[in-house]
Amino acid sequence: MLPILIPFLMAILSIINWGNRVLHRFLALAGSVGLLFAALALLTTVSEQGILSSNTGDWPAPFGIVLVADLPGAIMVLMAAIVGLAVLVYSTASLDEARERFGYYPLILILLMGMCGAFLTGDLFNLYVWFEIMLIASFALLALGGSRAQLEGSVKYFALNLLVSAFFLTGIGFLYGMTGSLNMAALAQALRAAGPEQPVTTVAIFFMIAFGIKAAMFPLYFWLPASYHTPPVAVSAIFAGLLTKVGVYAMIRMFTLLFVQDTAWTHGLLLVGAALTMLSGVLGAVARREIRRILSFNIISHIGYIVLGLALYRPLALAGAWLYLIHHVIVMATLFLVSGIVQRVGGSFRLARLGGLYQRHPGLALLFLLPALALSGVPPLSGFWPKLVLLQAMLQDGLWLLAAIALLVSLLTLFSMMRIWVGAFWSQAPAGVVTPAPMASVERRMLYGPVLALLALTIAISVFSGPAFELTQRAAEQLLNPQQYIVAVLGESP
């Protein structure tokens, strides 16, 4: 409960005190620190006591709206809290005054709240509401500033995402029409008992499309590279780290809890989708020559990996997927934040206009190199472990072609990231590029601090991949044994 309420309260207070920049900052930071603690507490509790559920309004479960915290959800809440805090700290140094005055901080807080809600809700329609909250907050953040590129990106973003809303609502309608339920646990039971006259698999396709768009799968991802590179970097970072992950999260939820009637078919489709997503995403990354665009496409290709883990639909693969999720949230956010610093000290995002940063900013070079290598899955950094696990799962299943694609994508990711390295860090800056003013020490601390913290986390996951994997393994178990979830929500009854 708290992870939702804390950012909500802070956002409300910010809105009441509209226009007070300093207070907004303070409230946002307080909110995200609070969120972090709440998330940590939640994860420990869930880890120790098992799945928790809370009925809002004290109305019994399948009637009221129930909030459920299981390990997968609690882990994601923690991720949201971590990235949220890092981005907010970064924002205080990087954001222009105008955006701060026009509600940037409450928007971020609402976005975080929406995510936590989506991670924790146990009610399908409520999930829709959280999605819309995130959606409207991200619209506003995306368009905030009103430059042409932002507006253009936003148009595509909203068009395709409103399409999601329509698909999602339609799917909810169908499910209610079939079962008379909205509670996910109850739905899970009802759908398992559903007779052949119920077109469950067809409905599953509706959800697959809806969350496929959200998660940026092929061929539904086009809104992402059109928009993610347009807002301020702090916003891009939180989008890149978290927003698409909510789509993946929802997809995994749906296809482990609700739609498991015909896994050979539905998960087979997901498998093909994942492979195509990986390939087309990484090709985009190779094609682009602007840091944030390259990163945007790399989000897509790596979403493919995560969906792959779901599609393989076995404990090892899902554990790998969840580990990948954790790793990717952190690393992507780090890379976007780093790209912001690169732009700050180098004056541009475009490789053609950057250069010489290796010489002038060796520290920054390291800050880029490590997450870039982690993203590419270079051992022993955090990206390697889930990749190894997924590779094992694929090879165990004899999916040779898929394994080959996954490895190829990994290589091409490395290639695309090293193009940034070569272009921005190694090569010499083109003539006529004006070096921006040096940073004040406060600014430096606020920019580098979050990056360092996230990087430290990456390294921690790299070194202590063991405990992290154990955690995700337990998360995967919970996902694959929905009975636990159902019992936690509905009690021991039938």
């Binding site: 409520n126 732009q343 270079v378």
Partner: protein, 778 residues
């Protein structure tokens, strides 16, 4: 052993600091670590040569992953080379980089590389080995790109990374397969599983993946080209990574896995062919080079080919020869590289055509080069001689096409002799040249090559030591006890001795007439060197262009094409599902269900449909808004008719507000033009029509069965007693599902903020212009 490896990484971070405070001594200080490791290894030698030293660290519950180390004869040999040459290289680098600002970074990278390489040869776990393997690729990438200001360096670094990195990934797949098939992830346990592995249907795939990994790393044909390219790195790097250590990783891997995977026909064929092609190609191409470093690089490629050939052969003699040659090669090639670097440092050129008669100016260099060159040529008393004897012996007793093999090996070895002469006679003898800025290098630059050269001699003179060291390594390669019998000078004339002599004579003759070879070599060069390299360049150069074309085609910026993708994907998935998994069934009694339609309802339906048609046809804003309004109000009336007054009320008020907003916001926009050609309109109509039909069908199918909603009755019963309200819908909204409503008003609030900001915050207005242009602000 973990400590030794970790120490390298940790000290790597300290190196730049040391270099900042003690710029002159930093290299030597950094050399203390590898020197220390070297001494420690010698200490462990007795154990290593006997039962071996094992160290296991529980690390991770990930399947297959432990951090375990195993020091046996083979890894001891490699580790000694890595740490010993490493120490000399760091001293050398200290002198080489004297006065350069970023020297500290070089020491750091060298130390990190050394640690990775040590880890690689000590690791006993397949995954741990792979981790270190990739680390060497990364450090190598950074070292090759040392002169990053130059385009050439950057390209070479990227090339090496892609080739070795790609090979590495193939290797990973291979290693995982080995682990899965054999059920063990510890290398020491693999040999016992040799039968399982070789009988498995996956044996060949494993072998091929392994081949990709090893061949790319050890610069075997057709991946050899990255190694000469890597010569853009500073010479200490070339000497260390690209001759003595890293390029041996592939060879080491084959040696390591040969007890488990070797001994089959597939193995021999694959690696002997690869090795022989590489041996000849590298050897003969080395003759063509004018740049000392490139010549040595090609020669290294050739030597690696030789090693791979021997490992492919897989006999006991071959294992012995491989171990001996591994050792000898590391010594002489490292020394020669360092000599080349020192000369470059002194004279400013590495061009063989411009170097002559340096013996007078650089007597120490001449001595070091001489020792190394003699060893390389396989002259008695030096380590290289014994190695060559064993190579020929292995060939002669190989069984199979003995003469062909011997002939090919001879041809390869002749090239070594020529290179040895180039590096000694050609540059040191004769009348001395004058250089403008010649400055004799100091002791730091000579210590390394001299020690290595001398070691080559010492090992030749101390056959017992060499035999013990190489024998233990050969045992690990062969997988069974091996004892090598070595000698300082042969006491009888054997076929091997004759072959050695023949090699030397042929080499000398060839050296004298090398100009005659030019046309031949050019042909070979174009065919073989440029072939794979060009293919690679075209691939890597073409890839972004290809990717761009594909990406631009999809990501074309046109929203309608994106929407089309979505709708298309959706319909495709549905079609596939229905075809392959059975459709949703056909609703029954449609006519009967249609019959209950009342007249006023029919009118309503017709009005809504008419409104829709009008929306689709609209070409002025007013028509559009009015028609939309008709549809909206029509919907509201449906709500009234079917018992939902609350909904109707909300729909009416929202509709009204919506129309007002529409007018307010959009009245300035120009009228819409019909932009799409008829064909597009038709296509879109068909596709969207299908989509609509799907939805209609689904509704009919689902409503075909009666619904028993537990929620409906519960809410109806609970609303008054528990919710204190008579309007069930409202009670649900504010109480039973109040959480949703809270979310709903949050959405509204945020929408207001967003709209406000959109309207009020614009780039270029007042002090807000910073938020402008596509580049944005951080």
């Amino acid at each position: 052993m973990l400590n030794a490896v970790l120490a390298g990484f940790v000290l790597a971070f300290a190196a730049p600091q040391v270099a900042r405070h003690l710029p002159r001594q930093a290299g030597t200080i950094a050399a203390l670590l590898p020197a220390g490791i070297f001494v420690w290894l010698l200490n462990q030698a007795e154990m290593a040569l006997g039962p071996g030293v094992v160290e296991r660290w529980p690390w991770s519950p990930l399947p297959g992953v432990t951090l375990s180390f195993h020091l046996d004869g083979l890894s001891l040999l490699m580790a000694l080379i890595i740490s010993g040459v490493g120490a000399l290289i760091l001293i050398y680098a200290g002198a080489y980089m004297q006065g350069q600002a970023q020297a500290g970074r070089l020491y750091a990278l060298l130390l990190a590389f050394m640690a990775s390489m040590l880890g690689l040869v000590l690791a006993d776990n397949l995954i741990a080995l792979f981790i270190f393997w990739e680390l060497t690729s990364i450090t190598s990438f950074l070292l090759i790109g040392w002169h990053y200001q130059e385009e050439r360096s950057r390209a070479a670094a990227l090339q090496a990374l892609i080739v070795t990195g790609g090979g590495g990934l193939a290797l990973l797949a291979g290693l995982v397969l080995i682990g899965l098939v054999s059920g063990t992830w510890e290398i020491a346990g693999l040999a016992a599983q040799a039968g399982t592995l070789q009988d498995s249907g996956l044996y060949l795939p494993i072998l091929l993946l392994l081949w990709l990994g090893a061949a790319s790393k050890s610069a075997q044909f057709p991946f050899h080209f990255w190694l000469p390219g890597a010569m853009v790195a500073p010479t200490p790097v070339s000497a260390y990574l690209h001759s003595a250590t890293m390029v041996k990783a592939g060879v080491y891997l084959l040696a390591r896995l040969s007890p488990a995977l070797g001994g089959t026909q597939e193995w021999s064929l694959l690696f002997m062919v690869t090795g022989l092609v590489t041996l000849l190609l590298g050897g003969w191409l080395s003759l063509k080079q004018d740049d000392m470093k490139r010549m040595l690089a090609y020669s290294t490629v050739s030597s690696l080919g030789l090693l791979v050939t021997l490992l492919g052969l897989g006999t006991k003699l071959a294992a012995e020869a491989a171990a001996l040659y591994l050792l000898a090669h590391a010594l002489f090639k490292g020394a020669l590289f360092m000599v080349a670097g020192a000369i470059d440092h002194a004279s400013g050129t590495r061009d063989l055509r411009r170097l002559r008669g340096l013996a007078g100016a650089l007597p120490t260099g001449a001595l070091a080069a001489g020792l190394a060159g003699l060893s390389m040529a396989g002259i008695p008393l030096l380590a290289g001689f014994a190695a060559k004897e064993f190579i020929y012996e292995a060939a002669l007793f190989s069984g199979g096409s003995v003469w062909l093999l011997t002939l090919l090996l001879l041809a390869g070895n002749v090239a070594f002799v020529v290179v040895a002469q180039q590096m000694t006679l050609r540059i040191f003898s004769g009348a001395s040249l004058r250089f403008e800025h010649f400055h004799a290098p100091g002791v730091g630059l000579w210590a390394g090559p001299l020690v290595l050269g001398a070691l080559g001699l010492a090992l030749g003179l101390l056959p017992e030591v060499t035999a013990t060291l190489a024998g233990a390594a050969a045992r690990a390669i062969y997988g069974a006890p091996v004892t090598i019998h070595l000698f300082v000078l042969p006491d009888s004339v054997t076929p091997m001795l004759l072959l050695s002599a023949l090699t030397i004579v042929a080499g000398i003759l060839l050296y004298r007439r090398r100009t005659k070879l030019e046309p031949w070599l050019n042909w070979l060069d174009q065919g073989a060197r440029l072939g794979p390299e060009n293919a690679f360049r075209r691939l890597v150069g073409g890839l972004p262009r290809f990717a761009e074309r594909v990406t631009d085609m999809q990501q074309n910026g046109r929203l309608r094409s994106y929407v089309m993708w979505v709708v298309g994907a959706w319909l495709l998935l549905l079609a596939l599902t229905w075809l392959l998994r059975g459709g949703p069934g056909v609703p029954s009694d449609l006519l009967a269900r249609l019959a209950d339609l009342r007249f006023h309802e029919l009118v309503l339906v017709v009005v809504i449909l008419a409104g829709l048609a009008s929306v689709m046809q609209a070409n002025t804003l007013l028509t559009l808004i009015v028609s939309l309004g008709v549809v909206g109000f029509g919907t509201a009336i449906v709500f009234i008719l079917f018992g939902a007054p609350d909904l109707a009320m909300t729909q009416f008020s929202i509709e009204t507000l919506g129309v007002i907003l529409f007018v307010l916001v959009l009245y300035r926009l120009p009228g819409m033009v019909r932009l799409s050609p008829r064909r597009t309109v038709l296509r879109d109509s068909v596709v969207t029509g299908l989509a609509g039909a799907v939805v209609t069908l689904m509704i009919l199918v689902i409503t075909d069965v009666p619904l028993v909603s537990p929620l409906k009755t519960w809410f109806a019963d609970a609303s008054e007693p528990l919710g204190h309200g008579h309007n069930v819908v409202n009670v649900i909204l504010v109480d039973f599902r109040g959480f949703d409503t809270m979310g709903e008003i949050t959405v509204l609030g945020i929408a207001a903020i967003g709209i406000f900001a959109l309207l009020k915050l614009r780039p270029g207005r007042g002090g807000e212009s910073k938020a402008g242009d596509g580049e944005g602000r951080t």
